[in-house]
């Protein structure tokens, strides 16, 4: 069961009901409320929750930011954003009127103690006027450099605890930019908030198909027995983007693909695929098992880094969208001598009884041919091929189970089948399962699911402190090796291609090939 901070008995009317849980009334304080994330994701997600009414009456938003807006001006901006980015548009006027009545803008600097006094007063007022019962969620949607200041100020103002109700804090990734900074951030958070109050959000975990990895593995009897080194030849995890920097050159120059994608999304997928079954399906049991996978990753450092990792930068080219693009170094805001990687391919091993010796190939990049995230489990070939090579062998590919996270969410299994006819001709066919959501029934956005989970006190899909640190511990070895031996030149790949030639050679050397998702 989800971890709940509320100890009182559940609402007896809910018993036997098919309807999903509805959270208690609360206030969400968004720091950085004028930023891109708030307007593109958070406000549309909250509005959709209000529209489909899991949100309780009295739910309120305090938009905390520096820019000089009035509440009315901010409400108008929020309306414009929801109309632009919500999956449900145009905005329903009546629901909006109701939702907007709960939005309040609070102008203050993040380092101004008076701002937090004003916040305290406003929260108390909302408790009285809208019945929010002392329940608060602070959402840090600011640049990460602001996190420590805001957290410390919340603590100083006594806003880290509620006399009545509960207090939680949601922290957006990145959780640090290396191991030391991640640990320091965690220490700063821990000085003010207890770990059970902290919800580190990685929106990938809110995706239906990511959650389905666990259901697929653990609710079916036939997959788990072959989910190990005896049957699995290797695993490929691909997180490909067909976009470039999208105006984030400053951030990306500092982060690169390893921090932007691998440390969080890719390692999250890896840990869900490779983890042992938890003893129960509660937040901490699941996260305990995920952390064990991260601890069991064979460290990469020194010379291993060069042999196990390919990094590259996109050059000019044509994208599959028909757009001609410049190379990374020609992008505005990027140094012409930059060695930041926009593509990363790596081979990792997990030192556990289940996975010893099984390579996990991880691949991520920008300006690749398509936006796709998938996990492919390639099984070993049949031990003895009975069919003549000329008729069958060359055509029979290994069995591959593919979990497609986005787009075209679903699961495919590739297997060999006889082609009807007098000859023993075999070819591989795909058995596909597509989620009905693809084009028919709209599923909630990842942020909707995660915000609702936080309001309900369920932290299963959020990242725990030790999980963040374990992921950074693995990544830090790579960062150190790169720092000690910076590349004289960095490989490039043509924009719109699947990466550099060396990445293909890298996997060919193991007698394998990259999938074409």
């Amino acid at each position: 069961m989800p971890q709940r901070s509320v100890v009182e008995a559940p609402n007896p009317l809910r018993e036997g009901i098919r309807i999903k849980n509805s959270p208690e009334p609360c206030v969400m304080v968004i720091f950085g409320a004028t930023g891109d994330l708030t307007h593109r994701k958070l406000l549309p997600a909250l509005y959709n929750l209000a529209l489909e009414h899991p949100l309780p009456a009295g739910f309120s938003v305090v938009a905390f930011a520096r820019r000089p807006y009035s509440t009315d001006e901010y409400r108008q901006q929020a309306l414009d954003s929801i109309n632009q980015y919500s999956r449900q548009k145009p905005v329903n006027p009546q629901v909006w009127e109701n939702f907007a009545a709960g939005i309040h803008y609070l102008q203050a600097d993040f380092n101004d103690p008076k701002g937090y006094e004003k916040l305290n007063n406003l929260l108390n007022l909302l408790d009285q006027e809208r019945g929010t019962g002392g329940n608060r969620i602070y959402y840090l949607s600011t640049p990460p450099s602001q996190y420590p200041e805001i957290i410390q100020r919340l603590g100083s103002a006594g806003l880290n605890r509620s006399r009545k109700g509960w207090t939680r804090i949601i922290i957006e990734k990145p959780f640090g930019h290396d191991l030391a900074s991640a640990k320091e951030l965690n220490r700063q958070v821990a000085r003010v908030f207890k770990e059970e109050q902290v919800y580190r959000i990685d929106h990938y975990l809110g995706k239906e198909t990511v959650q389905n990895i666990l259901v697929f593995r653990l609710a079916n009897g036939i997959f788990e027995p072959v989910w190990n080194r005896r049957y699995v030849d290797h695993v490929q995890i691909t997180v490909a983007e067909n976009i470039g920097l999208e105006g984030r050159s400053g951030y990306y120059e500092e982060s690169g693909a390893i921090r932007d994608m691998v440390q969080n999304h890719v390692l999250q997928l890896l840990s869900l695929v490779a983890m042992e079954p938890p003893i129960t399906f509660d937040a901490n049991s699941v996260r305990d098992e995920k952390v064990k996978v991260l601890h069991a990753l064979q460290p990469l450092s020194g010379q291993d880094v060069a042999t196990h990792i390919i990094r590259a930068q996109y050059g000019p080219g044509w994208l599959s969208t028909g757009q001609q693009v410049v190379g990374y170094r020609q992008e505005p805001g990027v140094s012409p001598h930059s060695t930041t990687e926009t593509y990363l391919a790596m081979k990792v091993f997990i030192d556990s009884w289940r996975w010893a010796g099984v390579p996990f190939y991880l691949r991520t990049g920008k300006h690749l041919p398509k936006r796709v995230t998938e996990i492919a489990i390639q099984f070993k070939q049949a031990p003895l091929m009975l069919f003549k090579r000329s008729e069958a062998y060359g055509q029979v590919e290994p069995n591959v189970l593919t979990l497609r996270i986005q787009p075209d969410e679903g699961i495919s299994l590739k297997f060999g089948a006889k082609v009807p006819g007098t000859e023993m001709q075999i070819r591989s066919v795909n058995m596909d399962f597509f989620y009905g959501s693809a084009g028919f029934r709209e599923q909630p956005e990842a942020y909707e699911r995660l915000l609702l989970d936080c309001m309900l006190g369920d932290s299963t899909l959020f990242t725990r402190r030790d999980e963040v640190e374990a992921a950074w511990t693995f990544i830090q070895g790579i960062l150190d090796a790169w720092r000690n031996e910076p590349p004289e030149i960095i490989q490039t790949y043509e924009s719109g291609s699947w990466g550099p030639q060396v990445a293909d050679e890298f996997i060919w050397r193991d007698g394998r090939r990259w999938r074409r998702p």
Binding site: N11, L13, G16, R18, S22, E24, H53, P56, G58
Partner: protein, 426 residues
């Protein structure tokens, strides 16, 4: 022995596809799949048809016109991964017996025209004695080892009806829609009896799904800790349902039955059951007026500890409030704007710690929204407008039912409570 009309039944059903002899259904479907795949094969030879199978859906209708309408609803159900749909038209009163079949493969684009989800649709027209054997014909047509959902369009049949029993025996879930019941009180009792008699298959009602939004809003009032104490203090429940402005009860021009109080009865019965209320021994003050659709029951709160999940007033344990009279009232609201049977108002009045609270969900002229409000000590504390349309698509309601695999015990208990309420006449 039924005749399989050798040269066709003499009628054309364009929506049902190709007429075939019943023994040729499987073969024809295979050939349709093959033709369809040939049409869709791309240059690389990739198969882009999506064929995932989750369930069989059997739709029973009393006439061909209704069958055609049901076939249209299926357009929106492709995402539920239907494997096979059998639409069975039961014309039992026909003097001659015959069975005719049509098949079609229905494909709908999923992501692009190159990726389509398909399901197989068989339509059977069973006349005379062949109708009684519909279950037998279906046995051969269902996808093996997949659950069978039976959607019964029309009034519930008698529990011992052999045609229906045949179909029940092969079904996992039987779905009715009580909004179309012609004799609402009598038919809802029949549904309760059917539910009692049918242990293996689950019974459900699309009308229950229409109440989901209303129940959710009622529940949400008491998710708020501040209002939770008022739940056990509720002493009066008032529900209004829409009736058409007809001179005498009957069908409207749109074909709706009015008055049809079943949704109001379901809501009242659910609240009674959840609140642990019992009917008073003295029934003289109860009344119900079928022609207008108005009801009133006097009841008592539980006086001792209840089974888990039910409510006891904190003060009732001391005995001070034990047995305090409480009541449920259902009133009609005449309106030509809303469909008969729609809920127009739910009002719960409660007293706790000597304070009165009124929880209201009301629909006014706006057919897309309702207004919820809480009045505490005669002051409106919370008022909000919530999106809740009067009409929900039948396909959406059906999809929800198709996602449920087991019994919905909450619904089944509610049905029992309706029977208790209807029996408690003054």
């Amino acid at each position: 022995m039924a005749n399989d009309t050798a040269n066709g039944p003499g009628i054309r059903l364009p929506w049902a596809g190709k007429w075939v002899r019943i023994e040729e259904v499987e073969q024809t479907l295979t050939s349709l799949w093959s033709m369809s795949l040939d049409n869709l094969r791309t240059g690389t030879g990739a198969n882009v048809h999506v064929r995932t199978s989750v369930l069989n859906l059997v739709i029973c209708t009393p006439d061909i016109e209704t069958a055609g309408l049901a076939s249209k609803v299926l357009r929106d159900l492709a995402s539920t991964h239907l494997a096979r749909v059998a639409i069975v038209v039961l014309e039992e009163s026909e003097p001659t017996s015959s069975i005719s079949a049509w098949v079609t493969l229905r494909c709908f684009s999923m992501i692009s025209d190159l990726m389509r989800h398909c399901f197989e649709q068989t339509t059977l027209l069973a006349k005379g004695s062949a109708a009684r054997a519909a279950g037998n014909f279906l046995q051969a047509l269902l996808k093996p080892e997949l659950p069978v959902y039976l959607w019964w369009l029309g009034d519930p049949p008698a529990g011992d009806d052999p045609t229906f029993q045949n179909l029940v025996n092969l079904s996992n879930r039987i779905i009715f829609d009580s909004t179309s019941f012609f004799n609402p009180e009598q038919d809802i009792r029949s549904l309760t009896e059917l539910c009692n008699a049918t242990q293996d298959a689950a019974i459900s009602d699309l009308n229950w799904g229409r109440l989901t939004g209303w129940r959710e809003l009622v529940i949400q009032f008491f998710d708020v800790p501040e209002y939770r104490p008022y739940l056990s203090g509720i002493h009066s429940i008032e529900i209004e349902h829409v009736v058409a402005p007809l001179a005498v009860p009957g069908r409207t021009e749109e074909g709706d039955v009015s008055p049809n109080p079943i949704r109001a009865l379901l809501l009242a019965a659910w609240l009674k059951e959840r609140l642990g209320w019992t009917l008073s021994a003295y029934r003289g003050n109860n009344h119900h007026h079928t022609a207008s659709g108005s009801y009133h029951w006097e009841m008592q709160r539980a006086t001792g500890p209840r089974a888990s999940g039910q409510l006891v007033s904190p003060r009732s344990r001391s005995g001070r409030l034990g047995g305090q009279p409480v009541s449920i009232t259902i009133n009609p609201r005449v309106s030509s704007e809303m469909r008969p049977g729609s809920i127009a108002l739910v009002r719960l009045v409660s007293t706790a710690d000597n304070k009165e609270a009124v929880f209201t969900i009301a629909r006014e002229a706006d057919l897309q929204h309702v207004i919820t409000s809480v009045e505490l000590d005669q002051e409106t504390r919370q008022r909000r407008i919530v999106s809740l349309a009067t009409q929900q698509k039948e396909s959406d309601l059906l999809r929800e039912e198709l996602e449920i695999t087991g019994h919905d015990y909450s619904f089944e208990q509610t049905l029992q409570e309706i029977a208790n309420l209807l029996d408690a006449e003054g």
